[in-house]
């Protein structure tokens, strides 16, 4: 069946999402081209406590993992809830997109997306406080990701300061 073009009906899970890295150094076309050939996945919504070993255990079930780069808080250099998983082949990375995206690891539903390929510096959170941007403004209490969002915590501290 390989000589037939497979209808999009069966390709949804591996096609690109709408997210684009706004700090990507090349143009949009180049980024898309890289994403379509990429063997690297961004993995999000991890617990801060989830280890590389756990990620390896799950993602190696989709194929041979080349390396895992843990996302770190820019300031504290501790895990801040995301990572990159690189495979040796595109097809293994596609399997991970198909079968791991939106399933659980460490009791959290994780999210996978294509990444244009790891470049140094991307392992750090881009939020003002050092972690991921989403943890700056988060309203809910998430014990796996350091409790409340950083801004809310700051706000509360300021309130306290005002009282004193």
């Amino acid at each position: 069946m390989s000589d037939l073009s497979v209808p999009f009906l069966f390709q949804k899970s591996v096609s690109l999402s709408s997210y684009r890295d706004r700090r990507f150094s090349g143009g949009e076309v180049e980024q898309d081209k890289k994403l379509l050939q990429s063997t690297t996945l961004y993995v999000g919504n991890l617990s801060f406590y989830t280890t590389e070993e756990q990620i390896h255990e799950l993602f190696s079930r989709a194929g041979d993992v080349k390396r895992i780069i843990m996302g770190l808080d820019k300031q504290s250099k501790t895990p801040c809830g995301f990572c990159f998983v690189e495979y040796y082949t595109r097809s293994d990375a596609e399997q991970a997109m198909r079968y791991i995206n939106q399933t659980r690891l460490d009791d959290r539903i994780i999210r996978t997306d294509w990444d244009a390929g790891f470049v140094d510096g991307r392992q750090y959170g881009r939020g003002k406080s050092g972690g991921q941007v989403r943890d700056e403004y988060r309203q809910d209490y998430d014990p796996g990701r350091g409790g409340y969002g950083k801004r809310i915590v700051q706000g509360k501290e300021m309130e306290k300061g005002g009282v004193i």
């Binding site: 069946m1 209808p7 999009f8 069966f10 076309v29 590389e52 390896h56 390396r67 791991i100």
Partner: protein, 931 residues
């Protein structure tokens, strides 16, 4: 169309919410001038073909084809193709009352488009027949309606189908062949094909099964083609051509009675026939067809929409012509064609297992087969989209009160446990079961729990390979449900032999649960009685640590640890290692007569096992914080490894030292061995010898050991495959037309392929950089390489320059001996010969690896059998024999493609009549898989 919800449309942050649906509707309204659309047109043409049709189950991913028009990028033909592909591929995805009208409307549309877009329509219809077998009757209905409406359609379309079918025959696309035969059979029902001509096709297929001196797997295939088509055409044939049909069935019956079934035991998931026999698939299918014949071909499962169109299709005044299939020839057997291997029918439920309101069709009811087949087809069609797959499975319809969830679970487990290998990634089946649980949260999980309990109760006779897959799935499944399980139900078995299958299953499951979570979590999920089965905390052990009774070499190890932490250069480490004295005779347990094994470097220092042990232990200890730390440590001192490690004994010492640091962390050992092999510090054969070494004796029944062996064998296989593909590619470039039998399709001859000729030149060749197990692995060591260039080299081949010079030399030589050809071709020629040499070298290594593995299996098993005899123990009563014997079976099955290439060597060298029959039997069963 831009896939999974527009979660990030509001900015860069990632949203966690599980429910995409609201985002999806927003997505729908996204500006269509998005760059992605332009982009996909160029790169993902297939994406463009997915367009939405209202009221279909795929509407979650909104995409409006009309928007494309605004882009102005699509011409009329492309638009039609888009529209048609959606209309045809989604046809009948959900069967409801609107289908009848949808089919009529579609027929009208197609009739209108036919003159202008005939080729497109025919192509897509053929695609549907090939890709969506579970809806074949809907397509045959549509084709029948078109046939009744357009006088030329029937013969034209048939021509296209027949030529596609012929092509699938010639290229041995077995799945496609079967799908066309079934489709043709159903065309009899819509009066497009004559019953006599479909019978003629069946006769041709059966005739092909009476040839002699051909493998049984070939004849099996053609017989199965007829059997799977008969439920569709049987009724009409019994009415119109009953004599011929009876004769056909008689011939099939005789064929199946006489065939060999040596292969059956090795494929069965359970060695016991209790409570359900694991029937050979053709036996079972024949029994079902015979039953159907007795029932006068009345079945109640196949959805036959054509009966709704009696006025169009079956009216007496219909003017449409019934066509005959042209006579088709079955291509002859050639050596090297790999036919579909035989199967067994997996059954775990019978009618007593399901709630009373349901009726599970009996084992030999055709409905059981038809529903199982439909489930299997949906699994294949939708395996890339687990959510859609789950939806499609739950929509299977039946005229009877069937326990659909039971049947779905049974078929999914049947696929997961399928031997030699599951069709798809194990993870697919796991994630599909999660989706099914999500879709039917109150009805599916109880069935799954019941299934787990039943499999658990049958573990004693379950094949080791299947138990392992069960462990992997179960731990994964639990990890998605907070590890909730009624563990106390299994307390009764805790007193069994610690090696018994049930205990092993629990132990290995907890091990995997720990790998997916962490040690403390596992402690928390199980009752206290299970603690003895909970794995040890996966911490490293450093035997050289400072304590009251230091072991030999501790002071050097301490120093190394300090230096490595300071990121000292390799030279410094080597200097320290050089000061380690040879241990006295009393301490010589670690020392082996290495000087005698390494003769080539007699003038150089050979590093002792103690030195290697100190280095490896210290390095791994320093890097013990995480995988990344360990890998970084290995990478930093890669060149030092290359200097220290030469002989296989030294390689095995690396593995032994690793085992001593990480006895409690199985996953770490798995990834470390993987890295050591990929970076060529350790060869595959050393891993195999280490696994069967006495130090690991007690570990041999643990699953991680086999995880290491499989991953090692797979790396070897991939290496061969890589060179093979390179060679094929070069050959294509060179346009070499000679039929040198290197292709894997000709693997049967590989044993006698030109290895002998090529070996002479390649045997001395040391692995060059290109021959590395993994290219990416060492590239980041360039820095280290240049830094350590002052270190003396033991392997000249590590030097890229030397290697290049050699290549240039050989190139010059070649050009002298060859007639003048243009430079580019000469370069290609040169490269071709180089890759050819590498391939034959890799094949030699591959063969050697399998030889070692099988030899060590035989030695280990024979020793055990002898021991049992001395002790007067029945070996079959011991769990050990089961674990190891079935691992041997597993290696044969998992790597049957590769093992078959060298099967004659193995037969003449190691699987000889002087080994124990129980071992030899495994080999014979394996050979029968292709007989």
């Amino acid at each position: 169309m831009t896939t999974k919800g527009g979660r990030n449309r509001n900015g860069g942050g990632y949203s966690d919410d599980d429910d995409d649906s609201h985002n999806k509707s927003q997505q729908h309204q996204r500006s269509s001038s998005s760059r992605h659309h332009h982009h996909y047109r160029h790169h993902h043409r297939s994406d463009r073909r997915y367009v939405q049709q209202p009221n279909q189950s795929f509407q979650q991913q909104s995409y409006d084809p009309n928007k494309r028009r605004k882009l102005g990028g699509l011409n009329d033909e492309e638009l039609t193709e888009d529209k048609l592909q959606i209309a045809l591929f989604t046809l009948g995805q959900k069967i409801d009352s609107t289908l009848e009208q949808t089919l009529r409307d579609l027929c009208t549309t197609l009739c209108n488009d036919l003159s202008k877009h005939k080729k497109t329509i025919f192509d897509i219809l053929n695609q549907c027949i090939q890709l969506v077998p579970e809806r074949v009757t809907i397509y045959s209905t549509l084709v029948g309606l078109l046939h009744a409406s357009v006088i030329t359609f029937g013969s034209d379309f048939l021509d296209t189908c027949v030529s596609a079918f012929k092509e699938s025959l010639l290229s041995y696309k077995f799945e496609i062949i079967q799908r066309y035969i079934r489709f043709f059979s159903d065309l009899v029902n819509v009066k497009l094909l004559s019953p006599s001509s479909i019978l003629a096709l069946y006769d041709t297929l059966i005739e092909a099964a009476t040839e002699t001196n051909i493998p049984q797997v070939r004849t099996d295939f053609f017989v199965s083609c007829v059997l799977i088509a008969l439920p569709y055409s049987g009724k009409i044939l019994s009415e119109k051509n009953n004599t011929e049909l009876s004769r056909l069935l008689y011939t099939i019956d005789k064929y199946i009675y006489n065939r060999s079934k040596i292969h059956t035991p090795i494929l069965q998931v359970w060695s016991s026939m209790e409570p359900h026999p694991q029937e050979e698939y053709l036996d079972c299918l024949l029994a079902q067809i015979k039953r159907l014949n007795q029932d006068e071909w009345a079945e109640s499962q196949i959805f036959r929409p054509y009966y709704s169109y009696a006025d169009t299709l079956f009216s007496d005044v219909s003017a449409s012509i019934v066509h005959d299939l042209p006579t088709l020839n079955i291509p002859e057997h050639r050596d090297g064609i790999i036919y579909p291997p035989p199967k067994i029918v997996f059954r775990m439920f019978d009618y007593t297992d399901v709630p009373e309101e349901f009726v599970l069709p009996g084992a030999h009811a055709i409905e059981r087969y038809l529903i199982e087949d439909e489930i299997s087809n949906i699994l294949h069609t939708y395996h890339t989209e687990r959510k859609d797959c789950a939806v499609q499975l739950t929509q299977i319809r039946s005229n009877n009160k069937i326990p659909l969830n039971y049947m779905i679970v049974e078929v999914i487990f049947g696929h997961l446990f399928m031997l030699p290998r599951p069709h798809h990634l194990e993870l697919f089946y796991g994630s599909l079961l999660l989706e099914l649980c999500k879709l039917q949260p109150s009805t599916l999980p109880p069935v799954l729990v019941q299934a787990v309990e039943m499999i658990f109760e049958r573990l004693n006779t379950m094949k080791t390979a299947c138990i392992e897959r069960f462990v992997k799935w179960f731990s994964y499944h639990l990890s998605n449900f907070q590890f909730t399980w009624a563990w106390q139900d299994w307390i009764d078995c805790l007193d069994e032999n610690p090696e018994s299958p049930k205990i092993k299953f629990i132990r290995e499951t907890l091990q995997r649960c720990m790998r997916l979570s962490f040690h403390q979590r596992v402690i928390e999920i199980v009752p206290e009685q299970f603690y003895k089965l909970v794995p040890n905390k996966p911490s490293p052990v450093f035997k050289f640590e400072e304590n009251d009774a230091p072991v030999f070499g501790s002071e050097y190890a301490q120093l190394l640890v300090k230096k490595i932490k300071e990121r000292a250069p390799a030279e410094d480490i080597l200097r320290i290692l050089n000061t380690v004295p040879s241990p006295s005779k009393d301490d010589s347990s670690l020392v082996t007569p290495s000087s005698s094994t390494v003769t080539q470097s007699s003038n150089e220092l050979t590093y002792t096992m103690v030195q290697i042990d100190i280095f490896v232990s210290s390095l791994l200890w320093v890097g013990s914080k995480s995988f990344t730390h360990s890998f970084a440590a290995l990478a930093k001192y890669h060149q030092l490894f290359k200097i220290l490690i030469e002989s296989e004994e030294q390689q095995i010492q690396v593995l032994k030292s690793m085992y001593e640091v990480w006895p409690n962390h199985q996953q770490m050992m798995v990834v470390l061995v993987d890295k050591l092999v990929k970076t060529q510090i350790v060869e595959c054969s050393a891993v195999a010898n280490w696994i069967f070494s006495s130090e690991l004796g007690t570990e041999l029944t643990n699953f991680y050991i086999w995880e290491i062996l499989s991953s090692t064998i797979e790396k070897m296989n991939r290496q061969v495959e890589k060179h093979h593909n390179e060679l094929l590619d070069l050959r294509r470039q060179l346009n070499i037309s000679t039929t040198v039998q290197l292709a894997s399709s000709a693997s049967l001859q590989a044993d006698s392929m030109p290895t002998e000729a090529a070996t002479a030149s390649s045997i001395d060749e040391k692995p060059s950089d290109d021959a590395k197990m993994d290219e990416g692995e060492t590239s980041n060591n360039d820095e280290e390489k240049s830094k350590s260039s002052s270190l003396k080299r033991r392997r000249e081949s590590d030097d890229d320059e030397d290697d290049d010079n050699e290549r240039k030399d050989s190139a010059e030589k070649m050009q002298i001996s060859q007639p003048p050809i243009d430079e580019a071709t000469a370069k290609l020629q040169e490269k071709y010969e180089m890759v050819e040499e590498r391939l034959s070298h890799a094949r030699e290594q591959q063969k050697k690896l399998y030889l070692i593995v099988f030899q060590r299996f035989i030695m280990t098993l024979s020793d055990f059998l002898n021991e049992c005899e001395t002790k007067n123990v029945d070996p079959v009563s011991t769990p050990w024999l089961k674990w190891i014997m079935e691992r041997l079976q597993e290696i044969f099955l998992l790597y049957h493609e590769q093992v078959f290439q060298y099967v004659s060597t193995f037969e003449s060298l190691i699987f000889t009549s002087d080994i124990d029959f129980s071992i030899l039997e495994v080999f014979q069963q394996f050979c029968a898989l292709r007989a």
